[in-house]
Subunit: 387 residues, 2 copies
């Protein structure tokens, strides 16, 4: 029962007007005041400020009979340009998206991601190139959001640790901002993917969880459109929840962390005890040839994937659980098997409380989510300069 | 980036005015309009409606020099009376609390809670008695919130299952409302306790998790003052997260549910394999006499309590974890041991991300939380009848 301070209320009202135009434009001053329940004076003052800032523009629409034109407002689609960037192991994807969510350009290419320097070069060069080809005036607001697997301090934009990229304490925001004259946000990739999935569901669900099974194991939950972050953006780190305190040793120093039963390199290292194995693909090939050792490894991973789903369902009670990550997206065998078997592991009273889905944003998810995140952040924190 | 419908905005503004008076009263019409950024007309219309409804009342305060009296508004403390009720195994506690959070009366007594009929008799008789002793006019709004351990459908107020009370599909809301002419809410006790803890911290923390270790194992998370419920109020059911898929059988049908390593009856049943044991107290006495079997049972329970804390920290990333429940509140040996040992089980990167505390609302927590919950629900859903 907390009332935020007045400054917060003022900003919230500005955001509200902007959202009204983005979602309901063309819309008139009178409609904005009515829909937001603000005084006509306050609403009008905010509209004027948004016009002056160039976020919205006028659109004159003929009123039916008399032929006079009434003034409505629509968003200025070029005002805010988002660059969504995904850093995956040895691959970088970049999308350029405008204020109303249209894709202007997209690129994806190989990059040696072990070197954060190469990554920074590739991102800044590509964004420079993309911008050169567009004819934006200089007043446009351009923001960049980078998603990657790992633990990120979102305030400072430091990648504290990414086991997948083998990064530790990389001040990615600072390094990119030194190369590009735009504000950069760094985010956990699963949070962004979850935002994109949520948006794709068009508000069908209020609480959406995503689980990533791949080089690591993680999760993210969206509640009414917002990322559930916890206190310091560390929520969803299910890869290090303990699923057997007497279990196998995890490089983190604990025993029986969930990821040690599922993540790709652990499966490969288990398999290597029997054969020379370099990829999950090879394990699956042996699995399909009915080799007992390969079946044991995959079957065990499936059980722990079921445990991961159960534990996410019991803790967050989502309406839908979306499975993603390389193990799900690249291996149809695993994808089909988990859909067949997961129910065995779910606590019975919650078996019908959720739907299990496979990611449908696929390789575009992180980039789309990054653009959504930038726009949401921009609107929520928008502060008119007019006062 | 979702705009709730206009009806929602209207109600939200009404709640805002009411909260302003509750938190900042005495407060003038002008201050209310200014602080809420509403038009003076809208703000004044809502104030008039609240006055007419009797939620707030005028307070004339002399302005310094001229001697004229200005009109301010304060909450009407008797307008809204909450009954907070806790049903614990064989004990019922009831508190009567007014609109500004003052306790008017409190009672607690033994009751055979295995019989839902006895429970309903005791609650309705006590509330009738308490009300008889007060001189409330008939226009007062009286609400009841009952907290108990179990899975509750908060919409219908049906207790779907409570292992602790041995209840199944009890339509508690309906049964109580048949006996008392007031709206009744049924809630999970841990959610209410978490609300009370959150309030006790006076907004020191944004994300507060509570874990209950007792006849069952559960958790609840408060985010910025609101219960994190998930889609259907089932979030926090950590007792049935799997912490060893190859572990011991749980009555739910799964293997290795967290509660099977911690909950009282499981400890007693383990202990009974060695000696005739009827209570946790007896196990602890043997533990303190250094009997190996008792040490094994308690030490193992401590490891799984540590796992519970780790898994709550990794999934929700709270700023504080509050331990509660009979095992913590009634047995200082266990309380001291878990505080000594839990760090062993926490994922190292999150070791300093939270504070571990022991519940300080104790046996008043559920009743206090129930009153808070009723008031919060009332304010958030308050809808003026004036239109």
């Amino acid at each position: 029962m907390l009332i935020k301070n007045q400054d917060y209320l003022r900003r919230r009202n500005q955001s509200l007007v902007l959202k009204m135009v983005l979602e309901h434009g063309p819309i008139s001053r009178a409609e904005i005041a009515k829909k937001t329940m603000m005084s006509p004076t306050s609403a009008s003052r905010i509209v004027t400020s948004l016009l002056k800032e160039g976020l919205i523009r006028e659109k004159k629409i003929s009123t039916s009979q008399v032929g006079r034109k009434a003034i409505y407002f629509v968003p200025n689609e070029d005002y805010f340009i988002s660059f969504g960037v995904e850093i995956d192991v040895n691959r970088i994807s970049i999308g350029m998206i405008n204020f109303v969510g249209e894709w202007l350009e997209a690129k994806s290419f190989y990059c040696d991601t072990a070197s954060s320097e190469s990554v920074i070069n590739v991102i800044s060069d590509t964004i420079h190139d993309m911008l050169k080809r567009q004819k934006f005036s200089e007043s446009k607001i351009i923001r960049i959001c980078v998603g990657l697997p790992g633990i990120i301090d979102i305030e400072s934009g430091v990648v504290q640790a990414s086991a997948q990229l083998n990064w530790r304490d990389i001040p990615l925001k600072k390094l990119l901002e030194a190369r590009l004259p735009y504000e950069v946000q760094i985010e956990n990739e699963l949070n962004l993917k979850a935002l994109a999935e949520y948006e794709a569901f068009q508000s069908t669900y209020g609480t959406v969880a995503i689980i990533g099974f791949g080089k690591g194991v993680g999760s993210s939950v969206i509640v009414n459109g917002d990322i559930f972050r916890g206190a310091h953006n560390y929520s969803g780190e299910i890869g290090h929840t303990t699923v057997d305190p007497y279990g196998v040793y995890c490089p983190c120093g604990n025993f029986g962390c969930l990821q040690t039963y599922i993540a790709e390199q652990f499966l490969i290292s288990e398999a290597s005890k029997t054969r020379t194995i370099n990829s999950v693909n090879e394990i699956i090939r042996y699995y399909e040839r009915d080799e007992k050792w390969a079946q044991n490894i995959i079957d065990k991973a499936l059980i722990y994937m079921g445990v991961a789903i159960n534990n996410v369902v019991c803790t967050y009670n989502p309406e839908v659980v979306v499975l993603s990550g390389s193990l799900i997206e690249n291996y149809s065998t695993i994808r089909d098997l988990i859909l067949e078997t997961y129910k065995e592991n779910i606590w019975k009273p919650l078996l019908d409380s959720f739907e299990l889905k496979i990611t449908n944003t696929r390789n575009k998810g992180v980039v789309m989510g990054a653009a959504l995140n930038l726009q949401q952040h921009f609107i929520d924190n928008f502060d008119e300069k007019g006062d």
